[in-house]
Symmetry: C2
Subunit: 230 residues, 2 copies
């Protein structure tokens, strides 16, 4: 190609997990360079012949051994030309979710250089990653209210109270249990299962399962998932 362009393309991933009332973010400890020892989002340069989403998936696997449950493009950062000290680099940021089970496993087995952090208590981040995280949290909050992505953060089968707590945690406000339950169950996108006794005490909870087929079918008929609720 004729044109001379000294701009590089990177991808970064903002990946969330949820467990027991806390929202977690996946971070990687930098091994080299200016930010050595600091925490940063997983990501890196796109390789020749590689698509953007493929690059994200590769980086997540290489750097953290994580396979996401949900992944979508968030935003492309490239207005501040000095956002990276190494040169002009634009970064296509992706937003991902992993489910509860994988999160626990990961947190237990992982070495030093990839870790889950409580999203309310993050360390200082490299580059402009803090901005990316903030944008991702906003996106998560708003998506939660008009798409059924909360289920991607829970186990495949979950007690209803987990869903309720998840909404309360992420949206950072109280939710009225009866109204919330009526609304969600009214959608008809959850299937009931057997029972289980979770945390020792208390009445055992029925487990529910998100039925994606039912959701897709309803969606085609013009149905819109939506949760508002003060």
């Amino acid at each position: 190609m004729k044109i001379e362009q000294d701009i590089k393309v990177a991808v970064d991933a903002i990946v969330f997990g949820y467990h027991s009332g806390k929202l977690y973010l996946l971070l990687i400890k930098q091994k080299y360079g200016k930010y050595q020892g600091h925490w940063a989002l997983p990501g890196g340069f796109v390789q020749n012949g590689e698509g953007l989403q493929a690059a994200v998936a590769r980086e997540l696997k290489e750097e953290a051994g994580v396979k996401v449950n949900y992944l979508e493009q968030l935003y492309t950062f490239g207005d501040a030309i000095d956002r990276d000290h190494r040169g002009q680099i634009i970064s296509v940021a992706y937003f991902g979710l992993v489910n509860s089970a994988k999160l626990k496993l990961k947190a237990a087995t992982d070495a030093e250089d990839a870790n889950w952090f409580d999203s309310k208590d993050l360390p200082g981040l490299a580059y402009d990653h803090r901005m990316m995280v903030d944008k991702a949290i906003q996106r998560l909050q708003s998506k939660l209210q008009y798409q059924p992505i909360g289920f991607d953060l829970l186990d495949r089968e979950f007690p209803f109270s987990d869903l309720e707590k998840l909404y309360q945690t992420i949206l950072d406000r109280k939710i009225e249990r009866r109204n919330f339950r009526r609304k969600i169950l009214g959608f008809g996108i959850l299937d009931e299962t057997k029972k289980i006794k979770q945390k020792g005490s208390g009445r055992p909870a029925v487990l529910y399962k998100f039925n994606n087929q039912k959701y897709k079918a309803l969606e085609k008929k013009g149905f819109h998932f939506e949760i508002k609720y003060a």
Copy 2:
């Protein structure tokens, strides 16, 4: 920089205008290359030291002399590595709106190589631009329902019926006049003005003006613009 990356970064703009019940899209006739003579979205390579949004603004000015009223990032296309025959090029697409007055002027004065096309009757487009346009139309339709961007497509002062027709045109469905009017006026973000007789016949209409300050003030108090309506 050490890494060798043969990926180029381009920007493209999907710019809409509205006039008299039609939604228009800005296109540029290609002068060189494989798609010579075909129509394509305004856009091009980002220059060294230039931010993404700045690049879009520059291309719009250079190629069409257009200054947009509203501009936001739409999506970054870069999963299909062969989307451009010249090599691996990712394109950051932006979504823009110009207001009615500028549109008329443009359509009248412009030469051969930039033109407004009825969005319902577009020519074949170069590259993957058709996909970009479809995505932009979806974005426009959904944004119209939860942000007051319709006003960016109208004159500064407009009869209420224009707003109604705009919604009907873009959302491609009938809107109930009384409900729509009550809803919008109820928000308290429009100011009334004098009168005017538009198209000859019919009762003259009161002109309204969007008051952005009032909107911003309400927004801070937790107000959300929203139009649903069958």
